[in-house]
Symmetry: C2
Subunit: 402 residues, 2 copies
């Protein structure tokens, strides 16, 4: 049991440089809190943003600037979300992009902005101004810079998160690499899910947009920690300008690489969730369609009773089956079968007699837990990831004042 | 702070008798676990049942028997939910109704059955047989019998729950009285929400059905503890046969009495929620319609981050506002205003400077917490009740095995 450490940080894909620095936004003055991402040439940039009706200023700004094909960079600060800050928040986000554009020699509309951290407070602009200068001088493309860039966007994360895939092509190899930070929230911070993926594969904005949306649908949209969507959630994909090879097989391997990077980052977020001690994978199969499968998986994933049962190492089929039952999807109880960590514990509507204490010991000792539900012969499947619910989660989110 | 004790138990409405007894289903052999409700004459009976796709045998049976106008009684056991028990579960529920019908001298289809407790286990039928005989001999209509009936349906509840209203009529006074048990769940039990309302007001089944559905919509459907709907939830209304006075004013006072009894029982369930230390009332106003207001209230009520913030006595407008924001209802951030315990803390999209520590002390010292959100000038309003999320909830629901 315990949180897994990531693989070593990758190189930055060619054509990009990154840096992470400390400019004093966080109370720990040595904690990195500013990350820059630079594309040496104008690049293709697409984004997916929070669906919350309450949207932070940097999200409002950045979503007017993508999809685009002449983006030069991204400036990201942690420690302050610049959310619920009205007109001044918008102006501050615009100012951040102007400072970075000054270094790049481009228009500010070719710079994207992300923020994560405390909400309802104004950004310390003087610190940011100096921080951007400082980070500019630290740009690089090695694993060290990649690691610092990943650390610069962390809030309550306990480990920096990155992922990389190589796409092998007949002529040259391409790289897809990304960094991310966690989704769990802790006040007074409102931690956001941020992810930035870079690739030296040439993509036009139309194709990049489709590839990112498909990848997000299979990764970041499949994780839930506490069901609470933030005001700042942002996923960006930056790629070299151009057109991908039109051969289907080539596009497929790019699609796979981007999706796998997003999935690895998404899973890392769940594995590092506040107070979580288990990463739970929920598979639903045999539903009428994907939407139905997803509803059921989501109902199971968000049930505090399922999450506390896993925390308590209890093979509690009743909580899982009943959470499936109230998802708002019609099914027959007699078609329902359930596996926990590969052991069938409920078959076609009837609980099976199993060695409970052995399964419980297994649940306790393994970090990864698998819940699999079959509803019948439908084609609809879905996979979601979540974590268990622990007293530590409550402590982190309730007792921070005392 | 602390859970409020209920008012003294009321008399049973005239024409009904009740009892509660211990027949050994619960491991504590002295704990009451069987409740009978008898109507001396055939009565009108209507019911509202769980919407879960996984439905316990007694619910399957009882919902075929209401609405009806010749019901003679209800038999309810706690300690075993008779859920996920297949054909044998159905036969056992039918057998329970037959035993009770034997005493009543009626057909079994005029008896309703409810169960609550452990799921996936067969009922101890011999104990139930003896228990029904024993409970039959203890029937009465005083406050003592009412209290024992309320205790006989308890599972993880810490206090028995009842409520009563008197309807004043020109000719005679009528009584509405009910008992209920809690909604929070604790494995291996899957505690169910059960409520049985009795009244000596004459109602036909059509009117009774409308009155009960309206009351449930304004009461039991407005509470959430952990969002987990049980396989056994049941609300029954039993009334004297006949037709209500057709004067609108008379029907109104009956409607109000039934709704108030249901609301008082619903609120008692939330106040007694597992591990809960605060009862939170959430009011949403100014929405486009009631459904939108309800979606937003529900999103706030089910957010673990809002529930832990209240537990931590934190006036955290950010968590409340962002939970409203992801409810799936469109609104403008600049129209949003929020009050916590009557203090405006966020006005038209901007957080206000308030005396945080004073508001925090107030949150800590008072059992009742009020969250009020205004979204603009719409007519849609909704009120929901929930409780805070505590480490004790996690302990109760995770650590019961150790």
């Amino acid at each position: 049991m315990g949180k897994k450490m990531p693989v070593p940080a990758p190189e930055v894909p060619s054509g990009f440089r990154v840096s992470g620095t400390a400019c004093g936004i966080k109370s720990d003055q040595e904690a990195l809190d500013l990350t820059l991402i630079v594309s040496d040439q104008p690049c293709t940039a697409v984004g997916v943003f929070t669906q919350n009706q309450v949207v932070a200023a940097p999200v409002q700004l950045s979503r007017t600037r993508v999809p685009a094909e002449a983006v030069r960079g991204v400036v990201i600060n942690s420690g302050n979300a610049n959310a619920c800050t009205g007109k001044r928040g918008w102006d501050d986000a615009e100012q951040m992009s102007q400072w970075m554009a000054g270094h790049l020699g481009c228009e500010s509309r070719h710079v994207l902005v992300c923020s994560t951290g405390v909400i309802g407070a104004f950004l310390p602009m003087e610190k940011l101004n100096q921080g951007i200068d400082q980070a500019w001088n630290q740009l690089g493309s090695g694993p060290l810079e990649m690691e610092r860039a990943a650390r610069g966007i962390m809030t309550t994360d306990t480990i920096p998160k990155w992922s990389e895939r190589t796409v092998e092509d007949r002529k040259q190899n391409f790289q897809v690499a990304g960094i991310a930070k966690g989704a769990a929230m802790i006040a007074p911070n409102m931690a956001t899910m941020l992810a930035i993926i870079m690739t030296d594969v040439p993509l036009d904005q139309g194709v990049a947009d489709i590839l990112l949306r498909e990848a997000v649908e299979e990764s970041f949209n499949c994780i839930t920690v506490d069901g609470h969507m933030s005001t700042n959630d942002t996923v960006l994909l930056l790629s070299r300008q151009g057109h991908p090879q039109t051969q289907e097989s080539s596009l497929d391997s790019i699609r796979t690489a981007i999706t796998e990077v997003c999935q690895e980052l998404a899973r890392a977020i769940v594995a590092d969730a506040e107070g979580g001690e288990h990463c739970i994978t929920i598979d639903v199969e045999g539903a009428e369609n994907r939407a139905s499968a997803r509803k059921i998986a989501s109902s199971v994933a968000n049930s505090p009773l399922v999450k506390t049962a896993i925390h308590g190492a209890d093979p509690n089929w009743g909580r899982i089956v009943s959470a499936a039952g109230y998802a708002g999807v019609e099914f027959e109880e007699k078609d329902l079968t359930l596996w926990l960590n590969g052991t069938m514990i409920y078959k076609e509507g009837i609980p099976l007699t199993i060695d409970e204490s052995s399964l419980s010991r297994q649940l306790q000792s393994e970090f990864d837990v698998s819940i699999r539900l079959s509803l019948g012969d439908g084609d609809g499947t879905a996979r979601l990831w979540t974590c268990d619910l622990t007293a530590e989660y409550v402590r982190l989110n309730a007792d921070y004042r005392t």
